[in-house]
């Protein structure tokens, strides 16, 4: 059996009396798209936040590529190859699309304690930035400010920035949120291709997207993982149907 890229053991997190993450055990194998589904409030985003380092777990351990990263800060984890896109679009609105991606390119380059040469005149930076925009199909928008492009394009920009981090594991928090049908379809096609480049942990509400893309599915209910299996087996799992897919399926 291949070694998991990300291993989560006994992860717990509560806010006051609310248990958001309840003894989560999860192994993410390399080279696949692993989706996490669950009803609203199941703790999916909280889980992503703990993996990326934005939140500290109360107990438990997170191993990435064989190293314990539980106590590492978010920037350290990002530099190790854990990139994240956000559920709520969080690109830098006043900056241009290209400037946004170039910031991510800078992030992947290691430190940015370079005080003199202007970034926008650095051909290497510009080329790299444009290459990532090309990949997500935003090259035509490079000079627009991020505030001026459509919501769907902002989501694409999010992905371009995450890719520019050269991630070993890409954490995507509802990349299709708020997208139209056509945009979603395009994004699904794009993510399917991305599988060859990197491992993806996908959180998504769009079931069509999940069933098309995911190799493995985990179902999160009330903060705990109730099942992890292939898409086919999950669809057939009666417990999952009851807890998540709704009475209609049961």
């Amino acid at each position: 059996m291949t070694k998991p890229l990300l291993r989560i053991c006994g992860l717990c997190k509560s806010f006051g009396g609310i248990v958001a993450t309840d003894h989560v055990e999860l192994d993410i194998l390399p080279g696949i798209i692993h989706a996490i589904i669950g009803p609203n409030g199941a703790g999916k985003t909280t889980l992503i936040a703990q993996i990326s380092g934005a939140l500290k777990p109360d107990t438990g351990q997170i191993e990435f590529n064989g190293h314990d990263i539980t106590s590492l800060s978010a920037p350290r984890r990002a530099r190790l190859g854990l990139a994240r896109s956000f559920q709520v679009t969080s690109v830098f609105l006043p900056m241009t699309v290209l400037e946004n991606v170039m910031l991510a390119v800078q992030g992947a380059d290691g430190h940015s304690y370079r005080f003199w040469r202007p970034v926008h005149k650095d051909p290497e930076m510009l080329d790299k930035g444009m290459a990532y925009l090309q990949q997500v199909g935003l090259a035509g928008r490079a000079r627009h400010t991020a505030a001026a492009i459509s919501h769907g394009e902002q989501r694409q920009l999010e992905i371009a920035m995450a890719l520019a981090m050269k991630p070993r594991l890409l954490l995507l928090d509802e990349p299709m949120a708020g997208m139209g049908l056509e945009e979603s379809a395009r994004m699904i096609g794009f993510l399917a291709k991305l599988r060859e480049q990197t491992t993806i942990l996908l959180i998504e509400h769009d079931m069509d997207a999940v069933f098309t893309l995911a190799n493995t599915l985990s179902v999160l209910v009330h903060g705990s993982v109730i099942a992890t299996d292939t898409v086919k087996n999950i669809r057939a799992n009666p417990e999952v149907q009851r807890a998540y897919l709704g009475e209609g399926h049961a």
Binding site: S52, A74, P75, F86, S90, S112, V119
Partner: protein, 331 residues
Amino acid sequence: MMARLPSSTSGRCYCLLLVLLAVAPWIVRWTDQPFLLDLLSRGLILAIAATSLNLIMGFGGMVSLGHAAFIGIGAYCVGIPAYYDLYNGWLHLGLTVVVSAAFALLTGAVSLRTKGVYFIMITLAFSQMIYFTFVSLEEYGGDDGLVIYLRSEFPDFLTMQGPIALYYWIFAVLLLTLFLVHRLIHSHFGRVIVGAKHNELRMQSLGFDTYRYRLTCYVISGVICGLAGLLLGNFTGFISPEMMSWIRSGELIFMVVMGGSGFLFGPLVGTGAFVFLEQYLPEFMKFLNPSWLEYWHLPFGLLLVLLVLFGKGGIHGMLSKLDSRTRQSDQ
């Protein structure tokens, strides 16, 4: 930078302004108003300080209400050696850089752990601490301050002696500061600072340890402001803890906001407007009605309020509306 003329109206205005400032001593001699040179010297020193504040506040989103502390530190780095008859300019300069950097590093390391209002309060607290420290230092005059009898001594070609030489010293430091800030904000480092202002969490997820970058920026800003203090000490020849009171820090914020926070030339024009109003508004009030003289703060305050309410982006914002085509801002 000098190779071609700026294409925008505001850019041309700033170029003209710098040229005027460069020849100001001749204008002053020609108009026989030596007092004007004093006013300009003081204004440009404050513009250096405001530009340093703009670096952390306008570009980095770190609103400090204690920045005048660095002016005081710079001034005392001239005053205290002068008290012991040490007038070597390099000593004053070195001392200013080291002490400002150390103070920025220590206070920044603590205050940058916080954000927003808490950051404002902690910077205020630190500046009050150093303010009262100097008030209690009886040896160096306490709150009566110190008189500096001689200016910092530099080799002949760099001399500060005489009002015109000092003016050019100040002008040169201002130019260097503007150029440094310009290079800084477009560099790799500067992009991180600007990014962290807009969305710190996002920057962290891109692998940037924003705290360290901000601390570095805070130290750079503190040192520049310390240099403004060194110049102010030399200019006034008299220093007191009052230079670092929180009121001075508040005025610096006003200058930045008036001119246009987050724009390279904003603090320069903001300081210009501030110093001009402070100087001539009382006279104007007196001209209207002699008994109104002491109420000049009232229209002054109203002007500030109006400018903040309606002049988005300050004076720079209004100027850039003149630009025929929309340009990208510095941010």
